[in-house]
Symmetry: C2
Subunit: 584 residues, 2 copies
Amino acid sequence: MAVSKRYPVPKDIEIAQEAQIEPILHIARKLGLPGSSVELFGNIKAKIDWKLGQSDLPKRARYIDVTAISPTPLGEGKTTTTVGLVQGLGYRGHRAVATLRQPSMGPTFGIKGGAAGGGYSQVIPMEDINLHLTGDIHAVSAAHNLCAAAIDARLYHESRWSDAYFEKLGLQKLNIDPYRVGIGRVVDMNDRVLRHIITGLGDREDGPVRQSRFDISVASEVMAILALATDLGDLRSRIGRMVVAHDTKGKPLTAEDFGVAGAMTALLRDAIKPNLLQTLEGQPAFIHAGPFANIAHGNSSVIADQIAVRYADYVVTESGFGADMGMEKFFDIKCRTSGLVPDAVVVVATVRALKSHGGGPAVVPGKPLPNEYKEENLDLLRRGLSNLVAHLGIVKRFGIPAVVAINAFPTDTQAEWDLVRETAVQAGAFAAVVTHHWEQGGEGAADLAEAVEKACEAPKQFQYLYELNQSLTAKIETIARDVYGADGVDYSDESRETLEKLEADGFGTLPICMAKTQYSLSHDPALKGAPKGWRLPIREVRLAAGAGFVYPLCGDMTTMPGLPSKPAFMGIDIDESGKITGLS
Amino acid sequence: MAVSKRYPVPKDIEIAQEAQIEPILHIARKLGLPGSSVELFGNIKAKIDWKLGQSDLPKRARYIDVTAISPTPLGEGKTTTTVGLVQGLGYRGHRAVATLRQPSMGPTFGIKGGAAGGGYSQVIPMEDINLHLTGDIHAVSAAHNLCAAAIDARLYHESRWSDAYFEKLGLQKLNIDPYRVGIGRVVDMNDRVLRHIITGLGDREDGPVRQSRFDISVASEVMAILALATDLGDLRSRIGRMVVAHDTKGKPLTAEDFGVAGAMTALLRDAIKPNLLQTLEGQPAFIHAGPFANIAHGNSSVIADQIAVRYADYVVTESGFGADMGMEKFFDIKCRTSGLVPDAVVVVATVRALKSHGGGPAVVPGKPLPNEYKEENLDLLRRGLSNLVAHLGIVKRFGIPAVVAINAFPTDTQAEWDLVRETAVQAGAFAAVVTHHWEQGGEGAADLAEAVEKACEAPKQFQYLYELNQSLTAKIETIARDVYGADGVDYSDESRETLEKLEADGFGTLPICMAKTQYSLSHDPALKGAPKGWRLPIREVRLAAGAGFVYPLCGDMTTMPGLPSKPAFMGIDIDESGKITGLS
């Protein structure tokens, strides 16, 4: 035990800074990783050779995905539960590993705070995880922005110089359609004024003028590619295939066409190596790649999981937001790519979020929590349980046993826990367990760990939600009906046209990555519980040919968050010795 | 000797990749750095604790700045000479260290190529130096962009919510003047269309609309601050002092006023630690901070130099571009901050650049070199020597002995070298030496090293160019006349107003950091040699209150380069094993 517990539970950053952190070489050694594969970044972080993910060692670990019910904006402790479960499995004597996404710095400085777990279930050093870590997101941003600069530079030079000059350079004009450049630029920041911009103002040398945009880096296709690539060669090919623009005749233009795919991949040479850190109780944790789960596919890297399943008894990964979001994409996109088959799913639920689904008042970050959430209220809770039941139905659709983890809050009552547990089991959960890892670390998650171990041995029949050879619309409609519970799908004219063109261009066999709000099973964040009698609107459809999916945008989805009136950065500081304060 | 030489000299990246690279821990140990101060980044890069720069050890090293004549766009091998000199000093048995800037990735992917030296005088691993290294420039960009996002977010929230709401949050409205936001955003990329942009288009939630800009990251004041800070506390204060906007009454608003200075500094917690690498011949090289020398102060970090002078016999640093640019700023800004006094200056000259100053045809990157540069031409050379003489005059003004390093090219003739040498010595150089380090490594720089050793022992009388208590205009005019050779200075109305306001606001005692073309002693890149009979136009004056200087913009200076028609990135690729090709 690397940390001695105090009550009441102190702030996350205090716990993290008080912990006795083990040299990361010890952690790697305990896991059995060859020393030559470990590249130190200081003493407590390391990068691990991606080639370990392709070794001949058997994939021996049990493989568990942690998902959740539809969350409130405060989050329901999914990362905390993932880390707690790994600590719990460790407490019970197993060699367990967590594989997690690297958090974006945007929310860290905005409203959500950090994402390394919480209480006595954290990955450390939490400051590093929440800031640059080893620079992978920056590398993604640089690769993406190099491509964006390449496109605008080509537009500029093609508008100014003759065909003959290009030929002399050994190049051919691409005739880019300035209105069909597919990518914006990216920055790892919440910066709302960059959502819609005009670039290229000034002089003739500064153009051409275009409307464009910035997305947050974790929404970049390059990030999705990093998360899905199986090795460096695969990364190189996927980047080359990215459709980043179209020519004036409508032909797709790839990163390869712009001659930039090699340099982009060179920028990712180190980012492809998973980062090894540790839990508060000394279990290994891989933190690698971080696409958001609402606007991207929301899962950590294939490579980290491929390494982990070769060295651990249990690999616990986390997919973003609810089972409708990250988990569906985990199965239909990530597992399809990796070929790994999960043994169990953990569905995290909180009494707080269930009450909110039952019609409780809005939960707003930064504002005091209404009384409904601090006192027993079985009626609200009962009404909200429809959301949990719906999520359990989604898991069942994939044929994998589900364990419900009721993430205990001090304000919960025994009667509330009992009600959740009974409903979950009635709805087909393999088990439902109250878990106290936030307050007690691995010991507090021992029951959860035991239930998960048993679920891993239960009979299962994994199946994807859809087959790839179905049409794009059939796949979209299957997700809408079978996962979200919609009555059907309404396509905008633009999205229908795009879908037809994608089928014609040969992209029809790609899987689907829905961009949808995480706060509801529907596209409307206001619809709580398990909404019925609604149709899913598809506003726009985009192609991620390198990542290998088509992503429909359902309703209004922003790909660039904003900062609140009093952002989290106002509380963050650093003292003269280098100790960071105020991160949460 | 860590590399065995081949002839003809192969490409830079081939030499770098063939080299037997020593574990960086050995390099640190050879220099005598305490093991506890070394933070490994893999086996061949490390970060060094900044606190070593403040230890009680005596500052025992001889301290040498490498500068140059006004360069051509191809560069004249200044970094190569710096590394060659360090290798030459090593060859002669001294413990020598190079302290260099981290190159921006913009030029790496654009036109200039890498910046880790060349031939058999390089710092390795060159791929790392030219790409992310340990992520310091990304950290600078993130800190800068967090501040920019904070300003626009505050503008947005203040325009939407009442004074009472702000008070409830414990904040006061700042009443930012949207037309006087002092900073743009930054990206480490050559991306011309970001020079002038409009942000905040879209909906009410996406605003407000403003004209803004992106600069290349190395032009950020945060980079200048990183290079000048003496410790973490100093870094924190300087960032807090940055004037980033004004209120509607004209009062300066600082990063501290926006509550973002602590988080910005937290983002730089690791960037403040110098990066340790090695030369091809195993000498230590610190690579740390990288402000451009035309649009910023153009010198590597104070902290790296403060560490190096405590552990080495000789510390060789490089200031950007010519003696009029980086060297003047080295003395008047960097040395004033650090308190270190240099012992000698090396002025790098090439026959090629001197011929260009003598009226030779334009030297254009990517185009074949005209014959004048490949054949003996003493007339052109003689006329161009005025530029070398002028630069030697600038060095003399500071009271430090100058050694001219004639960086040998295979096309040079003995008669050309003799002419340069004679002229240099007549103009007051302590010595002038032909040097062959590009082809022969340290052995080829042994003569240069010997001359530099002697120059370090010569009598000197260091003096700044100006005193801080002179007025801003007096300081500007001293630089214009005594360094650039101008007849005087012409101020735009705007710049005159700014200067008056800066004096009134108490910034009059700051040093001056001129933003000027590097291709001429004047503001006009077309004026070669040592131009006479011209006046320096000051278009605009900006304040860098955190870095601690005032920077006048002379003529047209872009703070965001563009990509050429056939950018360097087109030649760069990576194979499946992770080997990068095509970097130069």
